[in-house]
Structure formats: C-alpha cells, structure tokens
C-alpha cells in the first residue's frame, strides 16, 4: 500500500506542477478547440482551411500579441485598415474570410487563446475525469501481474516440495541402510497424498469447503460480467476492427476537429450520431490521401459515397452505406440521452468515452455497467446555477439541507438514481 500511495503522491505532485502553470493555457486549449480548430492547427505547419499557427508570432507585425488579438477579434477591420500583412494573408488564402469573433469572445478569452498558441504543444490531452480516475490507471503500469506472481510462487513451491520429498526419501533410505533395515517401499506421490489426506480428514474437509465457496464466489462474480465487454484489470474494453481504419487520433487529436463536427446530433438527440458519409466528404473530397494509410482507406469513403476522385463527381447508384461496428453498446432496456448529459449536464465527451484523441482504433474505455452510471451520478453535481428550470428545485434543496456542512447537489439528490429515469 505504501508503494502505491507514494506513486500516486508523486503523480499528483507532478500534475499540480503542470496544471498550476497551465491553467490559462488549458482554458485557451478549450477555446481554441471550440472556435479555431476547424480551420487551424495550433502547433504545426499543417494548412487546413487556414494556415497552421506554428511560428505565427514570428511572422506577424510586432507587437505580435496585440496584432493577433486585433486580428482574432475582427480580422475584417484589420484588413480594411489597409494593414499590408493582413491583406497579404487574405490574398494568400484565396480571400477566404475568417470568422469575426467580436461579440462572441471577450478580451480575456482571446488572450487565453493566444497564450495557448504561444505555449508548449499540448503534451497530455485533456484528462478524463469521473469514476475511473487516471491516477488509478497508472498503478499497474510496470508492475508484475499478480497472476504470474502466484503461478511463479506455486511452481517454486512445487519444486521445493519435490526436492524436499526426494531429500527425505534418500535420507530415510540412508538411515535405514545404516540401521540395516530394508529400504522403504517406493510409494507413489499420489498414494502418499491420499494417505496424508486419510489421516488429516478434518483439515482436508475445511480446505475443500473453502475451495467450493471460493469457486461459487467466483461464479457469482463472473455473473456480474455477463454482457460486459470490459476488462477491469487492464481498463480495456471492446475494440472491434472497423470497416475503415478510421483514426480518432488523426482527426480529433492531430487535426483537432471538434467532436461535434462529426457527431453533430449530440446536443439535439439521445444519439450522438455516426456522421453520415456526406459529412466525411466535406473534407475528403479534397483530402484523398491520408498520413498513415495512404489512399486505400479514404478510397473506401469515396466508394461508399459513390464519388469518383478523378472526375470529382458523385454517382448515387454506386453508393453503398458504411457498416460501422458499434463500440459503445447499451442494452435495449436502458434509455440514455446524449443531449441530456452534454447540454444540461455539461459533461465532456471524454468523461465516458476516454481520450479518443489518442486512440487509433476506438475502444470502449468504461465498463458501461449500472454501477458505473450510478457512481458517476453520485459524484457529479447538477449544473443548477443559471438554469431557471432548476430554480424551484434548487431553492427547495437549499431549504432541505439548510445548516448541513458541505452538501453537494449531486444527480442522485434530484432523483438521478431512480429506476424509471433510465428504464422505461
């Protein structure tokens, strides 16, 4: 135990150091993701709709921060003012207008974005929070699997027993010989064990009872995992091969495309939505070659859409739907609504889906068991402030828990553990 807590302490300390210096940049990262990432990359040269922002502070007129601040808020104004660099960029990018953020972002937010672009490339993507904390995830890394450890010990013990037994036999024989007696008859190992068991019936009985109970407990525990495609020890789950080698890492991680760009019904519907092929084609009409898989995988999208990249034309008769394998499966008797969790509950995608930005092949990162749902509902506070729907309830709850110290209005306090909230 001391070993573990030491490790977690170190981890916590490291994280503290990292985060205290990067709070602003973290906000900026989020803002960048929401507002800029569709067109720009933050720390590479890769040219999306707009230029990659690596080294942007060296390129723009000085003082760079102030200029970029102006530019982000209202680039049209800067262009109209006759700024030569602004006009150059405008013309270089085929006169594609950038969004005017004045009114959408305040000065602080813009500064945060600038700080983020200026700062070091995001080493660790935003960490998942929730019942499966990542501190725990680091525990087993580098350790020896307890199963192998047990097996090893068992093997060593077996060898030891064998060795001791032969030593005992030979010693006995030597003693017998020296005393002139006959050598002990060769009794087989199993016969000997049987003999021992015959003389120690009570002990054997107790042990076999313990074994039976352990076996039953094992079966009982295994029952909980029926239909759960998730390995608790390694925190790894269902990871099926997909018809297209689609990489979330390339799209959401490297290119920083917002999740909602593809999963665009997540705020409207119970389903986050698998993007329809025409959404893929928004980008892949132009991008026909991938960084890792070359043309083969993107060609599959083209064939699904009935798109001929040579002629640049669609032929609907040749289109055929893509059949993705669903990774996150809930049983039919559970009602889950994405929009409830994302819009009302203000949850991050990563809370349940893990850090998809680092996954090449999407993998189930949480067990999706009812215990897991409930644990989260017990810990997560409801975003009541500022939502008039909750006004009456908030007042009533404050009244109910009046005088109690440190009460959090978590989901379970407003009926979030009730059966019929998810089962109907």
């Amino acid at each position: 135990m001391s070993h573990l807590s030491l490790k977690s302490l170190v981890a916590a300390f490291l994280m503290l150091v990292f985060f205290t210096s990067g709070i602003r940049a973290q906000d900026g990262a989020k803002l960048f993701k929401q507002n800029c990432a569709v067109c720009h990359t933050s720390h590479t040269d890769a040219h999306g709709t707009g230029p990659g922002l690596k080294g942007v502070f060296d390129r723009v007129p000085k003082p760079a921060d102030a200029w970029i601040h102006k530019w982000i808020l209202n680039n049209e104004k800067v262009i109209k003012s006759g700024d030569p660099y602004a006009n150059k960029i405008y013309n270089d990018n085929a006169k594609a207008a950038m969004t005017v953020f004045e009114g959408q972002l305040d000065d602080k937010a813009v500064d945060a974005i600038i700080a983020f672009i200026k700062g070091p490339p995001p080493a660790a993507p935003i960490l998942a929070k929730g019942p499966s904390s990542d501190v725990a995830a680091t525990e087993n890394v580098g350790g020896i699997d307890p199963l192998y450890l047990t097996l090893g010990i068992l093997v060593i013990l077996a060898i030891l027993i064998g060795a001791l037994r032969s030593v005992r036999t030979s010693l006995q024989n030597t003693a017998n010989r020296s005393e002139g007696k006959e050598e002990n008859p060769e009794i087989g190992f199993w016969n000997e064990v049987k003999g021992w068991m015959g003389t120690n019936r009570r002990l054997v009985g107790v042990f076999s009872l313990i074994l039976v109970f352990m076996g039953m407990k094992g079966c009982w525990d295994a029952c909980f995992d029926i239909g759960v495609y998730y390995t608790w020890e390694t925190k790894n789950g269902y990871k099926p091969e997909q018809p297209i080698k689609f990489s979330h890492k390339i799209h959401a991680g490297d290119n920083e495309i917002a999740c909602q760009y593809c999963h665009n019904t997540v705020e409207k519907s119970r389903h986050a939505g698998i993007p329809s092929v025409n959404v893929c084609m928004n980008c892949h009409k132009a991008i026909t070659e991938g960084a890792t898989t070359g043309k083969t995988e993107i060609a599959k999208i083209h064939s699904a859409a009935g798109f001929n990249p040579l002629t640049g034309k669609y032929d609907e008769s040749k289109s055929n739907p893509l059949k993705w394998i669903k990774v996150y499966n809930l049983p039919d008797h559970v009602y889950f609504n994405h929009s409830q969790h994302v819009v009302v509950g203000k949850q991050e995608c990563a809370t349940c889906h893990g850090d998809l930005k680092s996954m090449t092949l999407a993998e189930q990162k949480n067990p999706l068991t009812m215990k897991w749902c409930i644990d989260c509902h017990r810990q997560t506070e409801v975003a009541m402030e500022g939502n008039p729907y909750y006004e009456r309830l908030h007042k009533a709850l404050k009244e109910k828990y009046k005088g109690q110290y440190d009460v959090k209005f978590t989901v379970d306090k407003i009926g979030g553990l009730e059966c019929a909230k998810c089962h109907y």
Binding site: R270, S276, K326, V343, Y389, C419, A420, H423
Partner: protein, 1108 residues
Amino acid sequence: MSMSKKYWRGLPELTESPEFVKQHQSEFAEPLPMDEFLNEEEAKSNGTSRRDFLKVMGFSTAAVALAACETPVNKAIPYLVKPEEVTPGVANFYASTFYDGHDYASVLVKTREGRPIKIEGNEMSGVSHGATSARVQASILGLYDGARLNGPWLKGSPTTWKNADDVIGKAVGSGTVRILTSTIISPSTKAVIAEFMAKYPNSEHVSYDAVSYSALINANKNVFGKSVVSSYDFSKAKTIVGVACDFLGTWLNSIEFAKQYSKGRKVSKENPVMSKHYSFESNMSLTGANADERYMVKPSELGKVIVALFNEVASATGNSKVSGEGKISNADAVKAISKSAKELVENKGRSIVVCGVNDEGVQTLVNGINKMLDNYGKTVDYVHHFNLKQGSDKEFIELISEMNSGKVGVLMTYNCNPVYTSPASLKFAAALKNVPTKVSFAQVLDETAQMADVVCPDNNFLESWGDANPKAGHFSLQQPTIHQIFSAPRYEGTRQFQDSLLKWAGVKSDYYTYLQAYWQNHIFPQQGKFLDFPSFWAHTLHDGVLKVVVAKETPATVMPKDSAGKPILSGVAAIINAITDSSKAEVADEKLIKAEENPTVADALPTPDYNKAASMATSVKSGQFELFIYEKVGMGNGNQSNNPWLMELPDPITKTTWDNYITMAPADVKEMGLHEMLRQDKIGSIATVTINGITENMPVLPQPGQAPGTIGLALGYGRNAETLKVANGVGKNAFQFLSVTNETIQQIASVTISKTEETHKFSATQIHHTIMGREEAILREVSLKEFKEKEKEEFNPSVTMATHEGKVPIAEVDLWDSFPRLNHKWGLTIDMTSCIGCAACVVACGVENNVAVVGKTEVGRTRDMYWLRIDRYYSSDMTKEKGNNEHLGTKQTYLDMETPSHNPKVTFQPLMCQHCNHAPCETVCPVLATSHSTEGLNMMTYNRCIGTRYCANNCPFKVRRFNWFNYNANVLFTDVNPSQNELGRMVLNPDVVVRSRGVMEKCSMCQQRLQAGKLVAKKAGAPIVDGSIKTACQQACPTNAILFGDVNDENSEIAKWRNNERNYFLLEELGVKPTVSYLMKVRNQEEPMLVEENKVEEKNEKSEEKHT
C-alpha cells in the same frame, strides 16, 4: 353513505360454493399440466417420459448458458446523405389527414427516423379540433399490415404495372366504365376523376357509403333543396334528443360531436349548467349510455317516436301536425317524448334533434322538427355542411341493375368493398360476374379484390399526397410521412389511385403536381392571407388545415393543360378574378342563411310533404323480434377489421373482444331458455337467426338496456378473405342482413330466432356489471340538482378514519413517513362527467407503449395486457337500503345487486395505475423491481422483475399486467400480434422497451413523454410550461376528460382541478394516496342520487354515545 363495506374477490367467494372452497386452497386456479410430463402412463401415451423431460431441461440449461457467451456485434449504419430534417432519435411531426370513407380527422403523424409510429390529433383543425377516435388511433397499423399487396395482380396472380395498364387501357377504351367509390372528400381527386371521365365519355362516377347516409341527404334535398349532410354543433345545444343515433361513437363525424358534446357539459359550481340529453334507441349504444335519460324503443317504432315528437313540437310552436301517429309500446318513452318536446321548445334555437335511422321519411321529419325549433344556422347548419357522406343508395342500386343487364364493361372500385358491404338482397356479387373487366384499387385482397380481374393496389394514406374538404369552408392536406413501403426493387410496388387514373386519362403529370396545380387554381384564390402560392402551400402543408371564410363549392372540373399535357398553373389575374368570385359567393351564402331566418324570402325553398314523410316513417312492420344493425366503436364499418388493436379493443358497452354476437334483452334471453350469463358466467348460447331469408348461427349476449323484443348486431365482422389473418372468419357479416326500403339501405329488419343447444365462450375484459354498493369508494355520482344545491361535504364527503382521537381525515392517518416532492409532483385527473367511454385513450396507450395484443383465448383467461382500461358499470335496481327494508338478507341482497337494471344507467371509468404514493405493490416486491420516484410516480423496472406477481396480487386497483408469454416471438400469437412480422414491428415506439415473458408491466404515466418534456425545458433553460407534456391517453381524448400536470405548480390547470369540489380519490380509505384523482360524474337529472344513509348512521352513533 356508510363506510362499512364488505369486499370479496368474486361471487363464488360470497356464496362459498364448494368449487370455490376447493380452489381457494390451491395456488393455481387450474391444475398445472405437469402430469403430462411426470405421469408414467401419460408419458407412454404422449411419448414424453420423465427422463426425456429431464434431458430436455438439462440440454436447454446448457444451451442457454452457451448462447449467453456469444458477443453480439451491433452495426451502426449512418445515412449516406442525412436528410436535413431528420435527427436520429428525435421525432418529427407532420400534419396530414385521415379519411377512410368513414371517419375524418386532421392528424399529426409522429415519425421516427422516417417511419410513422403514432397518430395524434391536430389541434388547429376546425373540424376534428385535435381529437381522435380509437379507429383513427389504430389506423397507423394499416400501413404495416402484412396482408398488403406489394404489386398489381392480374387474374389472381401477381403481375407488372405495365401489364395491368395494358389490360385496363384496352378495356376502358372499348366499354362503358363505372367508377364506384366511397365518398370522396378530396376536391382534387374529384377533378382527377373528371379528367378520366373527360377522356372516356362513356364513364360515370358512383358514390356509395358502406354505412349509408342517403336518407339524410335526400331529406335535406326535400326540405332545403340541397343534397348535402348538415353539420351540427352540440356545444350550443341545451337540449339534445337523439333517436337511435350514436353520434358520440360512430355517427357521421363522431369525433367532432364528442368534443362539442363534452364542451356543453363541463360543469362546475360557478357554472352549474349542462345540456340535457334524451336518447331513444333499441340497442345500448355508446351515446345512449351517456344520455341523461334513455328510453328503449323497438326499431319499428323509432319512426313513430319522430312523428310523435314532430307533433308535440308542432303543437307547441303553432305549426300543423302530421297524421298517422302510431302506437309506441313503451309508456315511459311516450311520456318522455312530450317532456323532451317541452324542453326542446323552451330552448328554441339552442336545441338539437338527431336521428340515425336511414329512412328518408324519418329524416325529413327530423329536419322539420329542427326547423320548427329554429335550430338552423345555430345548432344545425346546412350552409356549412359536411361533405363526409355523399353516397347515394339509389345510384348504387341502379348501378347493380346496370351491371346485371350487362351494360357495364369496366367496374372500378376504389376505397370500398361492395361484395362484403352490400346487403345480400342486392346480390352485388352475382351482378359483378356480369362485368367483363373488374378493377379494384384495394390495398389488400379483400372480398371485392378477390373477384377482380385486375387489382391495382393503392398507397396507404400515410404514403400518399392528398387533400380534403370535409366541411364547407374547411380544407386539409395530406402528405406522405414515409416513402412507399413496397418501393424496393424486389417489389412491383403500389401506386396511388389518383396516379393510376391520371395515367389512364393521359394526363402527363403525377398526382402531386396535379394537386398543387389544383390548389393554385381553385383553393389559393379563396384565401387572402398569402399573396404568393409557394408560401401559401408551405404554410398550409405545415398547418395541415386551411379555413376559408366562404363556403364556396370547389368545382370538379378538368383543368387547363399545356401542350405537353401538364396542368397549367394559374397566373395573378386568375387569382384576382377568383377572389372577387369568392366574395360574391360569401354574399350568396349569407342570403341563404337570411332566407332561413326570414320566412318571407323562404319561397325559394321547396315545400316538404311531412304527411308523406310520416307515412313513410311509420311504414316499418313490426315482428316478433326486430333487428337493429349497429356499428361498434372499435370496428366501425369494418374497413379496418384486420387491425388486431381494434379486434382486441373491448367494446365500450359489452367489454367483449374478438367477437360478433347478437345482443338481446336479458328478459328475452331468460324467456327463450338461453344461457343468461349471470354471476360472471362467460358461456353464452348460440341461436339460429333468420333475417331476410338468410339463416346464421350466432352467439347471444344478454345486454341490459336492449329493448325487449329486439336484437342488435354489429357490422364489420365475418370477413371472408384468407389473407386477412386477423379478421378472417371472426363473427358473422351483418351487412348481408341490411334491408332495402324506399331505395335506401336500412339497418332495420324483422327476425325469427330459435334456440340451439350449442354454446359459445366469450372473451371479455370485464365480466361483472355493477358496482355493488361501493359507489362511494369507487364511483361517485351526483345529480345536477344536488350538485347545485348541496355543499361539497354532502355530495362528495371527505374520507375519514375513526381513531382514538375521534374521526380524522384519512390524509392525516399514516403508517409511513411521507417524502417531500421537491421538484415536480405529477398528477393525473379524470373528469368522469366528460368521459364518454369512447376508448380512444385505450388504443392510444397501447400504441404509445408497445402494449402486446394477446388474442381471444388469452383475453378469456383474463390475461389482457391493457395498461389503461375503461370500467363500465351498470346501475342495479337492488340497493342495500332496499334489501334492508325488504328483509332480503345480506346474501340475497348482494346477489340481486349484481344484476343490472332493466334499463340501467351507465358510468364509464378509465382506470390505469393510480401511482399510489403509499403503493401496496412496492412493499411486497422481493427484488425492488417496483419503487417510487421523487416525482410521485410508481416505477416498474422490467429488467429487475423476476415475475413473482406479488405486486399484482397486492394491487387494490388490479392494473398490473403479467407477460405470460413472449408475445413478440411465440408462435401462438403470430397471427394476432403485429410485432411478430417484419413490417408490423416498425410501428413499435423505440423509446419504450418491448417487454418479454415473465415480467410485470403497467402504466408508466408515459414516462418517456415526461422525460422528453423535462429535457426540452432543461435545455431551453426554462420551467416546464403547463400543458406542454401530455400523456398519450390525454392527447387522444376527444372530450378533454383527462388532464396531466404538475400539482406542485400552483398555477397549473391540474392544481385547479384538484381544488374542484368534485375531486376525489379511488379507495381513499385504504390510505394508499393515489396520484390519480377523479372528478365526480354529474348527471343532469332531477331524481336524487345520494343515499341518505349518513344521517341514519350518525343517529345511531349519537344514541350509542348517549348509552355510554
């Protein structure tokens, strides 16, 4: 009103019959069939030994274990190009129109991922007012009917459209064509037919309604010179007299009438006024059951009632009487006629007389009565008339003789099934054989389509474009809510009737284009709100309905076309001309109304011969037994009889499912020595019935309130079409018994009945008939007079409990702690004064919540799955007081109390889970599968339930339902359960779990709608708007009898209803604290309804106190 009630589970318990005592000891009512497996001898005979049984058991255990190891692979297949309006997981609603030739409703169709799953009423409609009926609710299943044809048929085998078109093209070119349709209310369809007739001048269009309203049309012609059906406004009527007219259930536009009727009967202390409703009828109809005063009259005397009423009203208003008044055998009815006539005259201009007898004479007199009562232009309106019924029996009969003479070369039948629906005496089927080419547009192989040479299956209404003009001045549009189901390349596909006709007529346009052109040319000019057609079209399509000021007849003329044969859209000039035209028409209509009000200009109207009408009306001969053929609320005219939801729907009156039967007065049943079906007996007799020379054997159901000497028989059963798996062979066809008198098809016939020794088992969802003295706890009623005069505590006393501290209100006595409802406290209240028992809610609940259909046998075993049922109670002549006074003894009193009165009063009580806040079911569940929410609802968790059924046992309301079988997969239910076939499964609501075998289920108060409504509010960041969440039953209710809301919201409508002096809870004395409450039924009658029992008891108590 005493509280000392004795409860028992059934009559056998009360009588302590030996069978009951024996059964009482055992756990199961019927022995389990274990013997078949375990008995050695049995085993030898049926080949299953105990050994085999154990082997099978072992194998299946292992198999189940293995099967559970398999990892299911779920695929997620996105759209190629996602339609902009579709969001997976979010429902879209489209306004459309339902009209099947029988019922009309403007509807909203709920679609999920492009497939319709539910129909709701469109509240913008001025004709259906957001209301629906059971038939409209169930109609969505017609889209997914497995019996639907997926391509054209030629001479009994599938063919291609090209072949079908060729055959028909040749036939229409050479012979005389007759198009036989049910009433068409679509103006553009009429124009399409006109196009066809213009191309083939030898053709004619004949309208024919399966349930005829010819007499009504003829009567209006006689009296007002207009061959139309008047519209009615029951909400303005203070006195309503209905003669054999089921205007709340099936007659004309019953959906609208129910809405209006209930509007005139919303009674409160502040406004204690309600309409008075008299009913004279032979059968117990839904409308009669709701009447304040109901009188039983033989079918042959119905005309005489109208004549008598005419004369009474005539003498009171100073008009001339008619001669030939006949004798009415029921003396009470005679008295009631003069009483109602007096009230009618008192409420001149605010009364209504309607009659459902399809006799020209009778209807002419009814018009005369309404005219004398000055009701025209007020409660009855022939200017803003209905177009819903246009069929002419005379033309239909003429068509048959034309067919017999061999003159007809091609007969096309659209939206009608005359082989099944025409009276046997007209011999339509024989006449049809004389027609060389018979074309049917039926969607299924029905009786007529089976005889047709070519079947050109029409689209379902949910796949079709269309329009409707149900009432003068009211239009509505129909739009497809799903792509044609049989459009995949492997099918030949269906084709809309209008498209077929346009094609044959050589118009080079599809019907959608034609429809738009028609609207642009004819309907767009009638309105002044929109200046350009595209925005007019978009708005009208969105609303689904259009009301124009003018009741202008839309002409069914051929439209101008360009050289390519496409209809020309009109220009601006044409619109302006048309607008001036329509203003002229408005003036003309006003003149008509004025002419009616002012007798001096009434010269233009024809002079009806009321004496001739009276002699026609009284000409029906009486017989030993007389038959009155009626429509059931669920079945209507039978065009939806293959719909299992409607087949299983318990008839509101008889509560019987899956059956057609003769209803007969209990006294007649006794006299004939047939099974009386007393004491909850389910076995009835079969009688041989001869009507118009046709003999059939039919089961007999004793029906309280049936006029003595009469029988009733419902239409819509006895289908003879093999592909209609649900309907085929259920019951007997009543259409064949219709008689033809005075060139109209009438529901009346004389009958001879003889007894057989055979019996028939009925499957009913309710087999006891009376409330048996438990009115106070379950069914509180009060007369209007008492309601007005007495205090709340007198007619609706609060329930108290005797404790050591004296009598305490039941709410204050509690075993358990109560939990605060911090956020919402849901509540549902049902106004029993408004409820008419129409069962629209029952079907809507089933559709919304994927409630399984179980079939006749299972209903017979009381295993129906309805989450919401409507209990129907008859009044009884015996009361406890009467029993006491006559010293009958407790036992005899209760036995007599079970027998309904000769002509009982009827009460309907919708009953679903009461969501008790101290729920008895929750405390007995061993696995906590049923528990309570912080919002006051009783939650049922199917995945937790292990099926002990303790909860159902402990439920005082008996609203829990157990899944005895896997109805969605078990072969026993393949024919009845729509969710077992690929197509029928599409109707399931994806937001509600489909329950499996072995779990309990019940009303969830439409939890999925609640959660959805809450989410909308949360996302919008606003409190829930009162009335924005509606349960399925509430949405379907045509009379606004059901109200759902948040009781915690002080300003909500439900909070007001809860404060109503009529509010009470069922079985409140149990202290279960239900979430559902009821508003007492108020009857508009003078006789007191309250029993003065309280005083007696109080006196006793006082005397006891004195003694102590």
